[in-house]
């Protein structure tokens, strides 16, 4: 198993994570504040997830060629749904009394978002991010098809030369990677809950 492919895969996941986070949060916050576009935003991220991964990557490849970028865009589009949805849900479920108190004390909309709403919604948002990361590890495997590298390449080669041992190692690496991300992020998640302790 090529170590380089493993590193590449982790890079894919982390870089995608940054963009999924940024884009997902923005879309979620917009959807929360503007009820009119909320439906449309949710529908789009929902539909994106129903497109088969390979088809989605194929379409993006038309524009960006068989590159790392193509795979990152694919992963981002594919894993937006949990982040957007959890951002909206997390913000929506805040006790209206808390929002009223904040408004009544003279916080502007932006201050309210930064100081109160976002911190309170963050545990739920973080859960969305966790789901996105774990999803993206799996999607990253398809990256090899469009030239993005990663453990997908290792698996491809292994299948071609029928090397069971490498295939097993690559699969194991993916599983461990998912478990580690999930475990670490779950630990963080637990610490975020304001009502625990």
């Amino acid at each position: 198993m090529a170590l380089q492919n493993l590193i590449e895969h982790i890079q894919l996941v982390l870089i995608s994570f940054v963009f999924t986070g940024i884009v997902g949060l923005i879309l979620g916050i917009v959807g929360y504040n503007f009820k009119k576009v909320r439906g449309i935003i949710l529908m789009i991220v929902d539909v994106l997830q129903t497109i088969p991964v390979l088809a989605l990557l194929g379409i993006i490849m038309i524009f960006f060629g068989p590159t790392f970028t193509t795979v990152v865009i694919g992963i981002v589009l594919y894993s937006l749904l949990p982040v957007v949805r959890n951002t909206i849900v997390g913000l929506e479920q805040i006790d209206p009394a808390i929002i009223e108190a904040a408004t009544g004390m003279g916080m502007g909309k932006f201050q309210r978002l930064v100081k109160v709403e976002f911190p309170l919604a963050f545990p739920v948002i973080f859960t969305g991010l966790k789901i996105a990361v774990v999803t993206s590890i799996g999607i990253g495997v398809f990256g090899a098809v469009v030239g993005g590298g990663g453990l997908g390449s290792t698996i491809n080669t292994a299948i071609r030369i029928q090397d069971g041992s490498v295939l097993f190692q690559a699969t194991l690496a993916l599983v461990i990677m998912s478990l580690v991300f999930d475990f670490v992020m779950t630990l963080v998640e637990r610490r975020l809950d304001y009502n625990r302790k």
């Binding site: 009394a97 009223e100 009544g104 004390m105 003279g106 109160v116």
Partner: protein, 375 residues
């Protein structure tokens, strides 16, 4: 001064307030009371523009509130709600600091203010400042809610049934604290309640609302004695003036559950007991349970040396009344003294009870509305 001039408010087509005019003076404690849905909350929230008015105008110190930038306006008006609404992601100190931070006060000034405020309600800074709201009891949370409203020293505080969700004992304590805060800080307080006991206890003047109209705007005494409308009478309950208030004795208006300590107790012990019970002074009795005097927490802090006995610093020169004494005379005496309560003694000089503003209000309330509130 807060002035409403021909204010109208409608939710969509539903006109809730037709034409409301009123004036609240600086430093007044105003209670707005009335049946559920009569427009109390609506009226209150118009003052900090959480509710937009459809017609008329509201002036604060002569200035139309619509001409003040809305967040500036709100930062200058304290706001306390029944659901408390502390920010769970912030500590007690951070919650209190919200408005001072919005006003860009310096760090040290804010910290000083937080300490000062916590002192006001006897919650030690070191113990509470860094706790989160979930670690506090309901009563403590709402205390912090009140402090948060006071933090930037606004001249006006709006409170919407702030103690409505608390148990009766806690409510009583918080009412007393708020009353004393009002006395000290001279804020204009507009306080919504649906509890007549509370309104009578707290208010300088009471606004009685019904269907968006003011039926009466008067002092508690006036409202009780001369309710301006049958609706108010009905709200007050089955009024029976058959009892004559002049026949009441101290026994009728006192509270019998009284906390006393023996003269041989140590001062430190007394402080602990007082802290646990949230009281500021105790009655000291001798070995035969006869009344000796009173010790306040301040006296102990001033004169108490470690290990000293409570009888050494006790104040023996306090007013007491006999249990069969006329209640009205006792009340006048009580009002003139600066004490929180008046001690009532049996003939053999043992302690029979104490008269507090609350016990007095309860007795009068039961006289007016019948014996439904025991204790």
């Amino acid at each position: 001064m807060i002035e409403f001039k021909h204010v109208k408010k409608a939710y969509q087509d539903n006109v809730v307030i037709e034409d409301l005019s009123l004036t609240i003076n600086d430093g007044e404690f105003i209670c707005i009371i009335g049946p559920s849905g009569c427009g109390k909350t609506t009226t209150l929230k118009m003052i900090n523009r959480l509710n937009k008015i459809n017609d008329g105008e509201i002036l604060i110190d002569g200035e139309n509130i619509n001409n003040i930038e809305v967040n500036k306006l709100r930062q200058g008006i304290g706001y306390v709600i029944q659901q408390i609404g502390l920010f769970p992601n912030m500590t007690v100190a951070q919650n209190i600091s919200v408005v001072p931070n919005l006003l860009k006060w310096g760090k040290e000034k804010i910290e000083r203010r937080v300490k000062e405020l916590l002192k006001l309600i006897n919650m030690p800074y070191d113990e509470y400042a860094h706790k989160y709201p979930r670690e506090l009891s309901g009563g403590q949370q709402q205390r912090i809610g009140v402090l948060r409203a006071l933090a930037a020293n606004p001249p006006i505080i709006l409170m919407d049934e702030p103690f409505g969700a608390l148990d009766p004992i806690t409510r009583d304590i918080l009412q007393d604290e708020l009353k004393s805060i009002h006395k000290q800080l001279k804020k204009t307080i507009v306080f919504v309640t649906h509890d007549m006991d509370e309104a009578v206890k707290m208010a300088d003047r009471i606004i009685f609302m019904e269907s968006g109209n003011i039926l009466q705007f008067a002092t508690p005494e006036e409202l009780l004695n001369k309710p301006a409308s049958p609706i108010i009478k009905e709200f007050l309950g089955k009024i029976s003036y058959s009892h004559n208030a002049n026949d009441l004795t101290c026994a009728d208006v006192m509270r019998t559950k009284v906390f006393t300590v023996n003269r041989k107790r140590k001062t430190l012990e007394c402080i602990n007991m007082m802290n646990q019970r949230d009281i500021g002074s105790v009655i000291v009795v001798d070995d035969d349970d006869k009344f000796m005097g009173i010790v306040t927490i301040e006296t102990i802090k001033e004169k108490g040396v470690p290990g000293a006995l409570i009888e050494e610093i006790l104040d023996r020169d306090v007013k007491t009344v006999l249990i069969n004494h006329n209640a009205k005379d006792a009340f006048d005496e009580f009002y003139d003294s600066k004490l929180d309560y008046l001690t009532v003694l049996n003939r053999n000089k043992t302690v029979a009870g104490i008269i507090t503003k609350t016990s007095m209000a309860k007795a009068l309330a039961s006289l007016v509305w019948g014996e439904n509130n025991d204790s």
